[in-house]
Amino acid sequence: MSCKEWEERVALHVGGDLPAEIASAVERHLAGCSGCQVLWSGLRESLELLQAAHAEPLPPAAYTAVRARVLAELSMRRQPWWRWAAGLAAAALLLLVALAVRPLPKVEPLPPLALAVPPAPSVRAMAIPAPPRPKPRPHLAAAPRQPLLVRLVTNDPNVVIYWIAD
């Protein structure tokens, strides 16, 4: 039997999982096999480390939290539907009453707006299509006709364009 074949038995023997007669056979093999002795001590050490690392208890709060969550869920499930409905209705009613009797908050007057007037757009010479001539409408009363005067201001204060339309 090779050492590889002893491996499973040695690993079980470390945890005391073998019946007495097989355990004795493992002991006899270990006495004469340095390779399996190394395996045995390594297995024992890692098992002890594993157990020591997991020996630390969890904080009590961890248990309390689980208990509280379970009991809260069970309490919720046990309540009949109409108790839920009644509770919701009462909460809604309370909210409405609270909103109704609550004094309105005093509204502060808004500060005056400071208007920022952007500069006039620059005007470039461009061809403006002539607007369609309106149909002549009947004059209800004779009124003196005034020419339409359009004043275009450019970025250059020395250049002002006047457009007079009749």
């Binding site: 999982d17 690392a53 379970v70 069970l74 046990r78």
Partner: protein
Amino acid sequence: MTLAAAAMADAAESSQEYLGLIEAAKAGDLAAFEHLMRRHERLVLMTAYRLLGSLPDAQDVSQEVFLRLYRNLGKVESTGSLSAWLYRVTSNACHDARRRKRPESPVEFAEDLRDTVADPHQAAAEAERRRVLSMSLRRLPPKERDALVLRDLEGLSTEEVARALGTSTATVRSQVSKARVKVREFVERYFRSR
């Protein structure tokens, strides 16, 4: 005394009282159910924590297990069967939780290890060793991990582990021995690389 032994001894000491608690809980007495939870919460939460390696995940699983217990109180016949039932349900719930989460891959694990090795300013040596051992558990195939945790950390006998996991004692022995060898190889490789 192991957790399992403590739970069993507790239950055996006052089995009449214990069965009374189960009966009261079955009848809807939440205070009685809370007592039952207190008796078994260490078994459930610690097992889940050892299997999952994360306290929040273990708490979620514990909550699920106790809610399942409440729904299945009618099936609990004796104190001994309740512990075995809880181990089995906890182990299954941990499997489900792991499936729901991202699977652990060897690559992810290797990254964990590299980070640990690369960081010379890791906190205390004890904390680091604990982390390494926790990683060695996480790296095991789920069935081997379950068998090792229940046998070597919870202290159940091979027969109890087999009953809790719904398998044979021969399978448990095989899983436990393979898991022990893998943990040893991992621990030795890690500490040799330091």
